[in-house]
Amino acid sequence: MNRQSIRDAMIESLAGVTECHAAEGVHIDHDTDGLELLPQTVREHLVENEALHQEWRQLLRQVRAISTLQRVPAPSDLDGRVVASLQAGYRQGRVTEHVQALPPERAPHELDLLVRRLASQPFMEASADLGDLKAPASLDRLVAVRLSAETSARKPDGLPRTSRLLAAAALLVATSLGLVRLLGERDAGIANEGLEVALFSFRVVRIEDPTLADSELLGLLGGMSGGMLDGREGSQ
């Protein structure tokens, strides 16, 4: 026998403890080793092997302790609860039988309408709860301010002011070579040198508002921007 089969045999023999317990009541002699409960072959192993003997004593101790738990009688509440549950089940069964015995009926057309109305009811109720909401007066003011700001910033049928300024700045950079050439020719008087850039000086002009800018510069930029600065594309 290997160790596991000896352990299995020991556990199986523990049934004898509960049988003794049933016969003797709660007074079990805990001083005995209970070796008499084991088959002869297992007993021989235990006599030779102290570890197995100790394991048997532990198992015996556990089962003796569990066996001291007395049977708990069912409380009187259980009678009433079982009767009630049985009767409820019986009533439910009877109702089910009655329902099943009813002849089949076609659902009336009105049912469809009723179901549709019921289906849309939650949405209608939810909408009704909201009531007639009015936009606050502040919204009117905000819209008015925004509208007037847009109008003032925009030239008639043109682009917004910000876009125009950006376009002007971009064009100023992009055409810097052309400006340099023009100014260079005028200042240095080099008429025959072609595209060569001569020594010159120029001013950096910050344009806060195109309407306040120098008319000559505006004319120049307007021509180069193809009319974008004036809000009229295509003009020279």
């Binding site: 049933a22 198992l59 101790r61 007395q70 259980l78 079982v82 049985l86 069964g93």
Partner: protein
């Protein structure tokens, strides 16, 4: 067979006999498996509800008592699983074992004296707690084997498993009991 009467006849006759015959065994298994009186009462009620609904379908392919134990064990495990999902403090822990439903042998108390009886009840409550700390399947097999004194074959029928599974599960239950119960027995100097 009287047991195959329709439940529609109410709770008299065969059903009453069946209930009287099994109510203590069912309640005991439910009490030891759930570990408290309130859950045991619910599980017992559930067990008899199932029993009466399905008794006419019982085919006698196993022992009737094994079938009853099987319903009781499953009802108890299901109930514990459901209550584990909504944990709540149990008032049972505050009460003595006698209030919990466990019997007190008054004759023993006269012999033992009140202190010894109180000590015995305390020990029994701790043993029950140690059993309750086992997994539901190990708890069920321990109760069926050592409280209900079922054979391996009856346990296999009751739990719907093979004999081999019963043996291995019982062996594992003893290993778990060694961890849970030995400290209790040491504390009470119980050999």
């Amino acid at each position: 067979m009287a047991c195959q009467e329709s439940p529609a006849r109410g709770f008299d006759g065969a059903f009453r006999d069946l209930y009287e015959q099994y109510k203590d065994r069912v309640y005991n298994v439910c009490y030891r498996t759930t570990g408290n009186a309130a859950d045991a009462l619910d599980a017992s009620q559930e067990t008899f509800g199932i029993l009466f609904r399905k008794v006419s379908a019982f085919r006698f392919e196993s022992k009737f008592s094994s079938w009853v134990y099987r319903i009781a064990v499953n009802a108890s495990i299901d109930l514990k699983r459901r209550s584990a999902a909504r944990p709540a403090a149990s008032l049972d822990r505050l009460r003595s074992p006698s209030e919990n439903g466990a019997t007190i042998d008054f004759k023993d108390e006269h012999v033992e004296g009140p202190e010894a009886a109180a000590s015995r009840h305390e020990l029994q409550a701790e043993i029950q707690e140690a059993i309750t700390r086992l997994s539901p399947k190990m708890r069920a097999i321990t109760v069926l084997r050592y409280n209900e004194s079922l054979s391996y074959e009856e346990i296999a029928e009751a739990l719907g498993t093979s004999l081999g599974t019963v043996k291995s599960r019982l062996s594992r239950a003893h290993a778990a009991l060694d961890r849970e119960l030995t400290p209790v027995l040491d504390r009470h100097n119980l050999r």
